[in-house]
Symmetry: C2
Subunit: 240 residues, 2 copies
């Protein structure tokens, strides 16, 4: 350590919401437009959604750190996260604040969490909530999700079919996420459980490419990862 200690930079996990740039919070917008360094995942499939969402807010003088990260998280992903963390550390150590862009809500299935685990203990860290597509989809569909005593269950479509059956049996309301190639398996379980009538399908919620389609018309080949099935509470007819 040098004789003149440098104040450490602050790490922000910045929730930037589901896709509509206007769904950033005032707080996320303030931090995004004032930090010297912005980091964001660029997935191996070439998608850089996070940066695209906020492209209009980023200023020329801000330093950008694209972080190559694998799309799905496996044990073999560790070196990617270690490298991303090292890049971020190089700025935090010289006193520069770094905002990591997080689609949706950072602490909900977010790749940021793996950076949080590596860095939060060493540097001042703040996580800024973001609008999650898992809830915003209900607004886009115009369906109230949960009333009174209803339980809401968020279920990744990546589960085995027998686990999907268990988790979906007897639900009050549910959100099924990470659909993509897992759609046919989910569709089958919804049919078995008599839930198809209650299921709403939406893809790219709040993004310009948003589509709402009847679930029976979906062809499995076209279902993107960023799609959701929403099963709202049956309490729709409840008084008052």
């Amino acid at each position: 350590m040098s004789a003149t200690e440098t104040k450490l930079g602050k790490l922000y996990g910045l929730g930037i919401g589901p896709g509509d740039p206007e769904l950033l919070t005032l707080k996320a917008h303030r931090i995004l437009t004032t930090v010297p360094v912005i980091a964001y995942p660029c997935m191996e499939n070439g998608k850089v959604l996070a940066r695209a969402i906020v492209a209009d807010y980023i200023q020329a003088h801000q330093i950008e750190i694209p972080m190559p990260l694998p799309f799905s998280v496996e044990r073999s992903s560790q070196p990617y996260y270690d490298l991303a963390a090292a890049k971020i550390i190089s700025h935090l150590q010289i006193g520069q604040d770094v905002a990591v862009l997080c689609e949706g809500e950072p602490m909900l299935y977010g790749s940021f969490m793996y950076l949080f685990q590596r860095l939060a203990g060493q540097f001042p860290t703040e996580v800024v909530p973001g609008i999650s597509s898992t809830l915003a989809c209900a607004d886009m569909l115009g369906v109230p999700l949960t009333f009174r005593d209803d339980v809401l269950t968020m279920i990744p479509a990546t589960l085995k079919i027998e686990d999907l059956r268990i988790k979906l049996a007897g639900i009050d309301a549910a959100i099924i996420l990470k659909l993509g190639r897992h759609f046919p398996k989910v569709y089958q379980v919804l049919a078995e459980l008599g839930l198809l009538e209650r299921a709403h399908y939406i893809e790219y919620a709040t993004q310009p490419t948003q589509q709402i389609r009847p679930i029976r018309e979906i062809t499995a080949e076209t279902v993107p990862y960023w799609s959701l099935i929403v099963i709202p509470s049956r309490g729709l007819d409840q008084n008052p």
Copy 2:
């Protein structure tokens, strides 16, 4: 209908987030500061949290509609919602847009949903997503909620104890809401299921009165309705 038809006003269900005024979205802020009419619940217990959150953004020329609503929703609440809807209709019918302030996310356990059911069929309606305290609490606590295949379950503490046992058994991650006087019942079930070690307690998340305290130190008498218990995924130690 008159010979000169008036264009109907638009109804907004405006998610204003969990309490921190900076956690409004840019979109909610834009609509809030430009609509002619703002409606908000004033609960029978005297709380007008929704208006307090955005007090600094409301302008003198905007019309305000305080809506007396019962704190808990029962069948007897119907006249309150009918009256609130009638007040809103009187503005929509003469072409004035009305923004109804909704704490958190409008479609998640929100009193707005009962107005939505009455009005969305008759008037142009848009629901604007808000940050829900049920997810933002994880950011405030600094705990990643869900990894990979984890299922997240949101559970109202108002359930009967036997239902709490069923819903909490075998969870990956859970949020327990609406605690208040139901805290002792929830505490007992968490103890039975060996979940106390994993449980985090927070009240008034993101508000100036926010408090994070060890769950074993909570006295039942002091637990407000606006408190949450968070049980994050055990996947905290997962790679990468």
